[in-house]
Amino acid sequence: MMNIVFAIIAAVTIAAAVAAMSLRNLVHCALALTVAFAGLAAAYLQLGAEFVGFTQLLVYVGAVAILVVFAILLTRGSEPQQSLVSSGWLAGGLVTIAVLGVLVYAIAKSSVVHRAAPAQPDVTVLQIGEALMNKFVLPLEVVGLLLTAALIGAVIIAMKEEGRK
């Protein structure tokens, strides 16, 4: 039963990712990418990671997708649609197949596949919170600093443009 669910989620995610690469219209690509994000969130939920799944939805679908869409609209929305396939498609295709072959061989040959899956820990949000505040507090603060720097940088860039005008 779980395998069927996972197969469906994986199929949807991969189809959305392929669509995000191959659609003509740029905004359609962005929306297909959003579907791929949602597929990932579904995969997290299927694995039982509630917090991560919902956070993925909140952050990626709710914020990153909108950011991508805004970026497209404010910069390239009026550009004519480009051709689907670039000129070096043969070389690119060969390299991709080679990399895929190497990866599949390596994963199949490794011991990870044969190891029994460990018992799924029942991770509650409380435990995540406690871990974040006790064991991982330094990475949390560093990430917070990084985000603050990004925010201030964005404000400064936007302000500077206004000043120039």
């Binding site: 359609h28 509630e50 919902f54 909140l58 909108i66």
Partner: protein, 395 residues
């Protein structure tokens, strides 16, 4: 007997569920609950449209709709039929797929979020461990649908309206979530049922244990409600849809049933966010006084919901529309600092234990909130001449 009435829907659900064989029972139970939720809240939507129009009418010295049905209460049926039989125009240059999907993407998240609202005792559809996070995550999908609606119409004004709407929704999402963080912090869990359970019981003086009766809870509730009004694009924050009257909002190119779906989605979002406000601050399905506990829990939930809806209608009838820059100023310069200070105030309240400092707690809590409120308020009103207008007539 009161317990029976309280659990009547649960009993009905079990009755129907037991008619089915064992492996189907979970699915059937879920389907029945879902059907119940959709049915109840969709009819609440219909009733709310009439109440709103009649209420606004009375506020504005006129009757509301009073021709269709007794006192106009069949008006939603007339509106529904009108929306269904109108021609569905899709502009020739519009992006057909996205144009079609946008109303669906408004309605589906709006209905999905009801899954975590506890409507009565034992009456929550799914008890996620991260229920509140689920609510906000699904609610964030609504913003994307606003953009889809605005962009797919290939109309510059529609796109502008959509951009403004998204900017408004993103700006107000932060105070919304920050004001719920205080509740989550105090309760220690993201699960809606646990939050409601934490508000059970009554104080010594008869006040219920709801969070709204604490200084930080009251401030949080006010912030939450203001942010909720902005999130659902309701007056006075209805610039995205009010602009339809002037130039174009993001659903100007929609007609007939798709338009009706947008309105359905908006009102469903309103009920859902009010429901979350009730769950977080107003004690969910708990009764306000100990002697009134015989009234079923779901009745209390809907009574509180109706009070909040009436509050929304009242505000809509009172306030003029906010301009875009006023809106943004308010969100970033007032509500965000207040929400952050609210978190500090809640933490201070939590650590000043009631046994050791009963009234100092209140003093510190109120002072911590009222001070910044006055200062920030003065900061907002600075530079604007807000006296009563005087006129000088030509001689």
């Amino acid at each position: 007997m009161p317990d029976d009435l309280d659990q009547i829907f649960v009993t009905l659900n079990h009755l129907i569920r037991d008619l089915f064989p064992e492996p189907w029972q979970k699915v059937v139970s879920a389907v029945i609950s879902i059907a119940g939720i959709i049915g109840v809240f969709a009819s609440l939507f219909a009733v709310t449209t009439v109440f709103e129009r009649k209420g606004l009418g009375r506020i504005q010295n006129r009757y509301g709709p009073n021709r269709v049905g007794p006192c106009g209460f069949l008006q939603p049926a007339a509106d529904g039929i009108k929306a269904l039989i109108k021609e569905d125009l899709v502009p020739r240059a519009a992006d057909k797929v996205i144009h079609f999907l946008a109303p669906l993407m408004v309605v589906i998240p709006a209905f999905l979020v009801y899954a975590v609202l506890p409507i009565g005792r034992n009456m929550v559809l799914t008890d996620f461990d991260a229920g509140v996070l689920f609510f906000f995550a699904i609610g964030a999908a609504t913003e994307l649908s606003v953009f889809m609606a605005g962009w797919s119409s290939r109309n510059k004004y529609s796109l502008l309206g959509a951009m403004r709407a998204i900017a408004q929704m993103i700006s107000y999402e932060i105070p919304l979530i920050l004001s719920t963080v205080t509740v989550i912090m105090i309760v220690g869990s993201l699960s809606t049922t646990k939050i409601v359970d934490a508000q059970a019981g009554f104080h010594s003086i008869g006040l219920p244990n709801w969070f709204v009766f604490t200084p930080w809870g009251f401030a949080g509730f006010v912030l939450f409600m203001i942010a909720a009004t902005a999130e659902t694009n309701r007056s006075p924050f209805d610039l995205p849809e009010g602009e339809s009257e002037i130039i174009a909002g993001y659903y100007i190119e929609y007609s007939g049933f798709k338009f009706a779906l947008f309105f359905l989605g908006e009102y469903m979002g309103l009920f859902a966010i009010s429901g979350l406000g009730i769950t977080l601050f107003l004690g969910g399905w708990h009764a306000p006084l100990a002697i009134l506990e015989f009234v079923p829990s779901w009745m209390w939930f809907f009574a509180k919901l109706l009070v909040l809806i009436f509050g929304f209608i009242w505000i809509r009838g009172t306030l003029p529309r906010l301009r875009m820059d006023q809106l943004m100023n308010f969100a970033w310069k007032f509500m965000l600092p207040m929400a952050l200070i609210n978190i500090i105030s809640a933490a201070v309240w939590h650590f000043m234990l009631p046994e050791r400092a009963p009234w100092e707690r209140w003093l510190v809590g109120i002072a911590l909130l009222v001070g910044p409120y006055l200062l920030l308020g003065r900061g907002l009103m600075e530079g604007k001449k807000l006296e009563k207008r005087t006129y000088r007539f030509a001689e």
